[in-house]
């Protein structure tokens, strides 16, 4: 899904397809763009921090129409906080995803690197993990378990 915001491209989608980072970056690069901050997360096969464990795969699911609406809201929040941001891409992959596979991408572009693009991309992934309805089930050598977040939405999380 693409939404025009003052001619700035905004991409937000839930997909079962491979994340094509080059293609997404090209779609949010304008003639005035000189910087992009790209965050991507991938399935970690071996977790060492906190509760060490191995992961065989993660099974992601989404409440797709609400997830895409909330991704659009995250993009709008980014534009409010960092008006210098040009293009925004927020993409979550769902389905069965194995270690080393990219699962999510947040990218923000701007004219220059000192315009808040790093902070904007950071905000985007943090906010996605709070309000975008996507869940993952972790499957390991010993069984499976739903991963639950810890953020309970508040009235201010409605646009």
């Amino acid at each position: 899904m693409t939404d025009e915001y003052m001619n700035y491209p905004t991409i937000f989608s839930i997909t079962e397809a491979d994340l094509d980072i080059n293609d997404l970056l090209a779609q949010i690069t304008l003639t005035g763009t000189g910087a992009a901050a790209i965050f991507t997360g991938m399935v970690r096969g071996e977790t060492r921090r906190d509760d060490p464990h191995e992961t065989v795969y993660l099974e992601y699911e989404a409440y797709v129409p609400m997830a895409e609406a909330k991704m659009k809201q995250v993009a709008e929040e980014i534009r409010q906080k960092w008006p210098t941001v040009e293009g925004i891409a927020i993409v979550q992959r769902v389905g069965r995803l194995y270690p080393k596979t990219p699962t999510v991408l947040i990218a923000c572009t701007a004219a220059h690197r000192d315009t808040g693009v790093f902070e904007a991309a950071r905000y985007g992934i943090d906010r996605l993990k709070e309000i975008v309805p996507v869940w993952k089930k972790e499957v390991g050598p010993g069984g499976e378990e739903w991963v639950e977040g810890d953020y309970l939405p508040k009235p201010k999380d409605r646009p």
């Binding site: 997360g41 609406a69 309805p133 869940w135 089930k137 991963v147 309970l152 009235p155």
Partner: protein, 82 residues
């Protein structure tokens, strides 16, 4: 009575044993009351209700929110995407 649809995701779907259910509820039913009605129907959901997240027509709703006619309600655990 109002007809509504309730969708379940992740743990709640597993515990309810279904993706969705159509319900008839009294007009002016609040989210708090709906939670009780759903637990009556699906006792396995009882212990998920302390941290359940509810949406009405794809927007977050809270205990005092009133569920409108033809609402698409969703019940799910705190999100874990990324």
């Amino acid at each position: 009575m109002n007809r509504i649809k309730v969708l379940f995701f992740a743990t709640l779907r597993d515990r309810a044993g279904t993706k969705s259910v159509d319900l008839e509820i009294p007009a002016e039913t609040t989210v708090q009351r709906l939670k009780n009605l759903v637990v009556d129907e699906y006792p396995g959901l009882k212990e998920t209700m302390d941290t359940v997240v509810i949406s009405i027509n794809r927007e977050f709703a809270f205990d005092e929110s009133v569920v409108p006619e033809n609402a698409e309600v969703a019940m799910f655990p705190p999100v874990s995407g990324g």
